[in-house]
């Protein structure tokens, strides 16, 4: 693990509201005991029906930042969706809004999900579509996203922003840090001792 302060690279716009995790990673690819190879199946059914889907578009190959619209990642809690994105090489997502479970699942993989206004997101998507070589830079500390002449202000949920900046985005070690306190909280809960 390492602190995540700035993510920068070419970007890939996927337009549409309420893109659920069944769309991002259809359930048949969950029939496995590992996450290996999931990057090959991102948006598989959408891509099959649409040759122009951004994940089919050679111009966006190698992009590390995904730019999406509202309620991205809604529905199923399957981590297979952000795992596929991470394995594809996505390092940050910028969107209008995210489902909470998806946002949390992405954070644990070191992928910050930046939230910005609809109009700003749409101009960013337009600029990337017009120029796939555009370098997008997302600053975790300030929330500033810059791309060519475009600058926009985004936010990250408070706790996660701090977690990325201080290398605490993968929390297991932290949760195990003070394990005696966990024991004492448990012992105060009447159902743990059978009332």
């Amino acid at each position: 693990m390492a602190a995540i302060t700035v993510v920068s690279g070419r970007a890939l716009p996927v337009r549409g509201d309420d893109l659920d995790t069944d769309r991002i990673m259809p359930a048949r690819f969950l029939r496995a005991v590992t996450f290996e190879g999931l990057e090959k199946h991102l948006f598989e059914d959408d891509r099959a029906g649409d040759p122009k889907h951004p994940f089919n578009d050679e111009r966006f190959k190698g992009a590390t930042i995904l730019v999406v619209n509202s309620n991205f990642g809604c529905g199923s809690s399957r981590e297979h969706a952000p795992q596929g994105l991470a394995r594809y090489g996505i390092q940050a997502i910028i969107g209008e809004s995210f489902s909470e479970i998806f946002l949390g699942n992405s954070a644990v993989l070191g992928i910050p999900c930046f939230v910005a206004e609809k109009a700003a997101i749409e101009s960013l998507q337009g600029d990337i579509e017009a120029n796939p070589e555009l370098i997008v830079e997302a600053d975790v500390d300030t929330g500033v996203i810059s791309a060519g002449t475009l600058g926009l202000q985004a936010t990250l949920p408070g706790g996660l922003r701090e977690a990325f900046l201080t290398d605490r985005w993968n929390p297991t070690a932290m949760l195990l840090d003070d394990f005696e306190v966990v024991g004492s909280v448990a012992s105060r809960l009447p159902y743990i001792s059978g009332f």
Binding site: R28, G49, R78
Partner: protein, 464 residues
């Protein structure tokens, strides 16, 4: 002054983490075969132990075949995933309910068996690697759907790192009309508040309609909270809750039960609790509801036309026109089951409709009980015979055609009347398959008619 959410959160908060998130103790961890194998691998790699193995329970539901459940499963991937879970549970000392193992008779959908076994109790924090974990809130628990890395965290530490939620109180008041069910209530709530209206909120359901509901009905409501964007949904525990729990396998007994009731009462929201938002829904105005689109917020009352401004992408995919009705839509498949509507009362209500009738010749109809216990109870009441005689296939317990990870799938552009929870594109296993969400009674009526109909017509004939 405080809500149940705050009371339970505070009782389980371990500490504020250096990141500012809260470390929250998880009272009950539920595990299934699809989102856990990688989590067990991660703790194995790190050499971590399972911190509280006695607070974790496992079952198989997502991938299990529902046609024949004898081991080894004919589906080799289902067999492999089940075997891996068996090995993980054995290695770490976790109770597993799976066909072919000890306690196999309690196998079922994880959100059906938790409450059924009395594992789910008021005032608990619950986590499971499945978004419909919100179901358990029906008993007054705070239950979070989580991802696989968080499953790892709970296994290793029995804790999660989370930010607290705001609480929206949703009062449903009035009398539901005959033929209108809990499913119609939650579809109406989601339509009203939107599929992302609940992001950042826990939904607290109350009001006279919810107060009168059974626990099974409340489970249907809480189950679909996530479809409205709310990760958590709950109902405050009351006499109905206590009566439901009494005598269940893992419920406290004797004097301990009385002490438990006292604590359960104490954690409920105060009458003067402060909410971040309040919404009221009029139960009398709710009609049997069906979805027409590709998310659970896109629904209409059965007598209502699809809005003139309806989303173009959804209309095109589903083959509907703005201003048209869903009533009269020919169906190919009828599915009764899932963690939303796969419990005994759901099957009873559907059986009431199909009794003495027959499934339309062009319709493939399935009943998939939510658990083996539900199945046994239904068989004891003769429901399996009613369904079979009417032309339904009577299956073994599992998630089945809700998410189509097993052979129960739609084909091509088939239209499915479904008692499940998601009408997403491709959800039921065919990339072009179409799902119409509705109550189990409405699915039963559609199966018989061969098209979407108003269940109230058939109910009148039942009464006559």
């Amino acid at each position: 002054m405080s809500t149940l959410f705050e009371n339970v959160w505070n009782a389980h908060a371990v500490r504020e983490l250096p990141s500012g998130q809260i470390q929250l103790f998880v009272g009950l961890h539920l595990v299934h075969e699809v989102t856990s194998p990688q989590a067990f691998d991660m703790i194995r790699q790190h050499g971590w132990r399972v911190a509280f193995p006695e607070r974790t329970f496992a079952t198989v539901d997502h991938i299990v075949p529902t046609s024949v459940q004898r081991r080894p499963f004919i589906d080799l991937t289902a067999e492999e995933m089940t075997t891996v879970l068996e090995r993980n549970c054995r290695e770490y000392g976790i109770q597993l309910y799976a066909p072919g193992g000890d306690g196999g008779e309690f196998q079922g959908i994880v959100h059906v068996i938790g409450p059924e076994l009395g594992l789910t109790q008021p005032g608990m924090t619950i986590a499971c690697g499945d978004s419909h974990t919100s179901t358990h809130g029906a008993l007054g628990a705070i239950a979070f759907g989580i991802g696989t890395s968080q499953v790892r965290d709970v296994l290793a530490s029995q804790c999660l790192a989370l930010d607290p939620l705001k609480v929206r109180r949703i009062d449903v008041n009035g009398q539901l009309r005959p033929g209108v069910y809990a499913k119609d209530v939650i579809l109406t709530i989601i339509r009203q508040l939107g599929v992302q209206g609940g992001v950042g909120f826990a939904y607290e359901y109350g009001g006279s309609t919810i107060d009168r509901m059974t626990i099974e009905e409340r489970m249907t409501i809480c189950n679909m909270s996530i479809e409205g964007g709310a990760r958590v949904g709950y109902v405050n525990p009351d006499e109905t809750t206590f009566a439901f729990l009494k005598g269940r396998r893992f419920a406290p007994e004797g004097e301990a039960f009385d002490r438990a009731v006292e604590w359960w009462r104490s954690i409920a929201s105060d009458s003067d609790a402060q909410y971040h938002d309040r919404v009221t829904v009029d139960a009398d105005a709710i009609e049997p509801t069906v979805t027409w689109g590709i998310n659970p917020g896109q629904s209409v009352g059965i007598g209502e036309a699809i809005s003139k401004n309806a989303d173009e992408e959804a209309l095109t995919f589903m083959g509907f026109k703005a201003g048209s009705r869903v009533e009269g839509t020919k169906i190919d498949v009828a599915f009764i089951g899932s963690c939303t509507n796969g419990r005994l009362s759901d099957l009873e209500e559907a059986a009431r409709i199909v009794n003495g009738r027959h499934v339309a010749p062009h319709v493939k109809a399935l009943v998939v009980p939510g658990s083996q216990s539900v199945s046994r109870a239904a068989v004891a009441k003769g429901l399996d015979k009613i369904f079979s005689k009417a032309g339904f296939e009577w299956r073994g317990a599992g998630c089945s055609m809700c998410l189509a990870m097993n052979p129960d799938k739609l084909e091509g552009r088939q239209v499915c009347a479904s008692s499940s929870n998601r009408n997403f594109k491709g959800r039921q296993g065919s990339p072009t398959g179409r799902t119409l969400l509705m109550s189990p009674a409405m699915v039963a009526a559609a199966a018989v008619a061969g098209e979407v109909v108003d269940v109230r017509q058939m109910l009148e004939e039942v009464h006559a």
